[in-house]
């Protein structure tokens, strides 16, 4: 029984304080969508893997609330990404920017096209 009491005390300790932005009451439909998009693309700084959307860590919830506040204040998506990147490093941004990582996108495409071309021409030549 003592253990259970301790557990409950532990949970009370973890209780959150009530502020107006809890659970995003101040956001409209479009803003909620932006929140989802942003939280899906920001990594939880304390977890092995996962974005702040799906993680249960306190820091994830805090970050999500902060982003909600930033959206209301009028920050754009890119500004919010920049703020997070500035604070935690590039590691925390899950979105891969094609303009900065061109090779990641170009290499598979080139390999695909060239190999299909090579194989096809070789096959046609052999068939003759």
């Amino acid at each position: 029984m003592k253990n259970l009491q301790n557990t409950f005390r532990l949970l009370l300790i973890l209780s959150l304080s009530l502020t107006a932005e809890q659970l995003y009451e101040g956001l409209n439909e479009e803003q909620l969508q932006r929140l989802t998009y942003l939280s899906d693309n920001i990594r939880c700084p304390k977890c092995t893997y996962g974005n702040i959307s799906s993680s249960n860590a306190p820091i994830s919830k805090d970050l999500k609330e902060e982003i909600a506040e930033l959206i209301i204040v009028g920050y754009s998506d890119q500004e919010i990404f920049n703020l997070m990147e500035d604070r935690y490093g590039e590691y925390v941004i899950l979105k891969t920017d094609p303009s900065k990582n061109r090779s990641l996108f170009i290499i598979p495409l080139i390999v695909l096209l060239i190999s299909i071309l090579l194989i096809s021409t070789y096959t046609i030549k052999k068939s003759k």
């Binding site: 973890l14 502020t19 700084p45 304390k46 805090d62 902060e66 935690y88 490093g89 590691y91 925390v92």
Partner: protein, 172 residues
């Protein structure tokens, strides 16, 4: 013939990859954290801050001279492990240790300090975690060394004698 050429290409790619891995062995810098530390940033204090007795804390208190900020909480087990070291360091060295009581209820925090000792000059009351979040805290325990308002050293995790020697000792 085709197969041999192909094999050579594969071999080259393989050697490149192995090269990258082997080269990485040379990187023995101290930074083991995935998340960037806040080192080099200025301490930003937005809203007003209060200590555990409810007294207001002036900005200058944190931005003048050398301040060691330690994030702790009564529910944080690793903080309890770190606590004796904090007590010993404040007893033996001239360290202005200021606590940030992170997401904790006042009476639990005060009970913790009564029970385990209070090495802090004072502790900032941060129930919402907002102050810590803006500072760049991701959890407890964490420790920041602030000199004249600039974060010169930041440790994510507990502080023990090895961490102290590596990250903080040279400033004292």
């Amino acid at each position: 013939m085709v197969t041999r050429f192909f094999t050579v290409v594969v071999l080259v790619l393989l050697i490149t990859m192995l090269g990258i891995f082997s080269y990485s062995l040379n990187q023995k810098s101290a930074q083991l954290e995935l998340i960037k530390t806040q080192e080099g940033k200025q301490l930003a204090i937005g809203k007003e801050i209060y200590d555990l007795e409810g007294k207001k804390i002036e900005k200058e208190f944190l931005t003048d001279g050398k301040v060691l900020l330690n994030v702790w909480a009564s529910w944080c087990i690793t903080c309890l492990v770190e606590h004796p070291f904090l007590k010993s360091i404040t007893a033996t060295k001239d360290v202005k240790l200021v606590g940030i009581n992170y997401k904790d209820q006042i009476n639990n925090a005060q009970n913790y300090l009564e029970k385990n000792g209070d090495p802090y000059v004072l502790s900032i009351y941060d129930l919402s975690g907002d102050f810590s979040l803006k500072l760049g805290v991701t959890g407890a325990p964490e420790t920041f060394l602030i000199i004249d308002g600039e974060i010169v050293s930041h440790r994510i995790g507990e502080v023990n004698i090895d961490v102290w020697n590596e990250k903080f000792a040279k400033y004292f």
